[in-house]
């Protein structure tokens, strides 16, 4: 069963003004429980607006968001429960760290959920472990952490709410390659261990190709492609024309095709690229 579903979801900004723009338009997607979904699209495509509907931060202009089959905007209770069931981690979440200690910052969400002290403590320590922060980090001021550590502390704050669905908006933006790998791996491990649904918003097709099973492509406020990563990447040229950062190997194959080499352009990992090329060479032998 779909844990999260949008039905003809539309959101207009400045609805009552002359400058009305549709940020998302008629988006209908079903996200299965335990799935790892990547949402791709360039700046302004509507991906951030879309995810802010997932926990009721934004209300649809028209259409619905269903969580476990229920409309989250039906009543105050459903809206509140959506806040806890769907954990949203924004871009550059470290800018939102504010407490005196890392511990208190991670505990902020669970405390708002009115949980018992022991439960909060358990959650904080578990979340810290997920993101690889040590005991001594917890007593420090969040501002004394390195950039990468701050980012992970902020992600832990959302994980500590133990949401059914964890949504991360560009969790690797601005990090160096090592930092990016660390964050992506910890998210992937978190999903495997907790069985939660994870939604990753990213510019990087490479990251989505490596970690997600399914992908949703947003372009000009519409959901243009939705399916398994294989299905979505078989539209390499289309993705390129939307200004997306298609993996290098896909771009190599698109160029080869343009040069008149009979290759498929649906490859998105180097391994596939190598295999496809070797297969092409073997054809020449017979």
């Amino acid at each position: 069963m779909a844990v999260l579903e949008t039905v003809n979801l539309t959101h207009l900004f400045g609805e009552k003004t002359m400058n009305r723009v549709s940020a998302i338009s008629d988006v209908s997607v079903k996200i299965e429980s335990g799935e790892f979904l990547g949402i791709i699209g360039h700046t302004g495509s509507g991906k951030s607006t879309l995810i802010q509907h997932f926990n009721g931060l934004l209300k649809p202009t028209s259409g619905k968001v269903l969580l476990d089959g229920k409309d989250i905007n039906e009543s105050k209770q459903t809206a509140l429960s959506a806040r806890f069931k769907v954990g949203l981690c924004f871009q550059y979440p470290e800018y939102q760290l504010f407490e005196e200690t890392v511990y208190k910052d991670i505990a902020f969400g669970p405390t708002n959920m009115k949980l018992g002290k022991e439960e909060i403590d358990r959650r904080v320590r578990r979340a810290a472990e997920f993101v690889g922060l040590k005991k001594e980090h917890l007593e420090k001021s969040p501002f004394d952490l390195s950039g990468g550590e701050k980012r992970r502390a902020a992600i832990a704050g959302v994980m500590a709410m133990e949401p059914e669905i964890l949504v991360l908006d560009e969790p690797t933006a601005g990090l160096d390659p090592v930092g990016r790998e660390t964050v992506l791996n910890l998210i992937s491990d978190y999903r495997k261990e907790t069985g939660s649904t994870v939604i990753l918003v990213s510019h990087s097709m490479d990251d989505v190709a490596r970690f997600a099973k399914k992908a949703l492509v947003m372009n000009k406020s519409k959901a243009v492609l939705f399916g398994t990563v294989e299905e979505v990447f078989s539209h390499g040229e289309e993705l390129l024309s939307m200004g997306l950062d298609v993996p290098a190997v896909t771009r190599v194959f698109i160029q080869l095709k343009k040069m008149g080499v009979p290759v498929e352009t649906g490859v998105y990992t180097n391994e596939q690229g190598k295999d496809a090329f070797l297969q092409l060479l073997r054809k020449g032998d017979c």
């Binding site: 700046t43 950039g147 771009r251 020449g284």
Partner: protein, 286 residues
Amino acid sequence: MKETIIHLEDVSYTYENSEEKTHPAVHSVNLEVRKGEFLAVLGHNGSGKSTLAKLFNGILVPTSGEVKVEGIPTSDEKRIQDIRKKVGMVFQNPDNQIVATLVEDDVAFGPENLGLAPEEIRKRVDDALRTVGMYDFRLFEPHKLSGGQKQRVAIAGVIAMRTDCIIFDESTAMLDPKGRAEVMETAKKLNEEGITIVFITHFMEEAVQADRIAVMSDGRIIGIDTPKNIFNNETILAKAGIELPPAAKLAKKVRESGISIDNGVLTVEQCAKALFEAAKSAGVID
């Protein structure tokens, strides 16, 4: 032998309130930035590359050693304005370097401070905005621009000072793929016009487009050479924890399966061309 524009001799820098006094952020660096070159600086977060950048135009003055810009030591406080007129800087966060409420006012900020005549300022601002392709946006409010556009306005602000050299301190790190490409294209265009570029980045795909790459690790420059030589030097890559550019990874995989591919393949274009040649010599295509 090309002329040197920035000369670093045995430069070290230690942050004053750093806990590890014995551990300089930049350590015994010798470097000559050649006039007219495009030099990329690669390295992890914390490798010292941003500290190095700030030493180039006297934002930081070395704890020991000397930085000279066209012969003027950056430690000479009286001549700091002369140095800033020669070496400009574009920073990481586009939102932190825009000061005015109109694009053209922002670009005019620097030249106005030089006390130039109004006609001269007008001319410089218009020229600079045309160079970065933002002339049509001259009457826009900066906050309405995309990240890549804001960075181009910041670049225009530097160009309007008519500097000989521009340092890009991870100016693409916070941008989406489109914005990154815009900034890179602008930097390359300026370089073709004779401006020296120092491009600090952790994106391999950007670094391969430079004339030379300097690799930093633990405060030191551990290698400086052409992209081809750097990316074929396993020792340097391993020590700095640097990955191959994505297209070079594919080329390497194919090469390891026994197909002859030149080891200078670094970009998507080069990789497509090399695979095309390999397919041709295998008789798969005419």
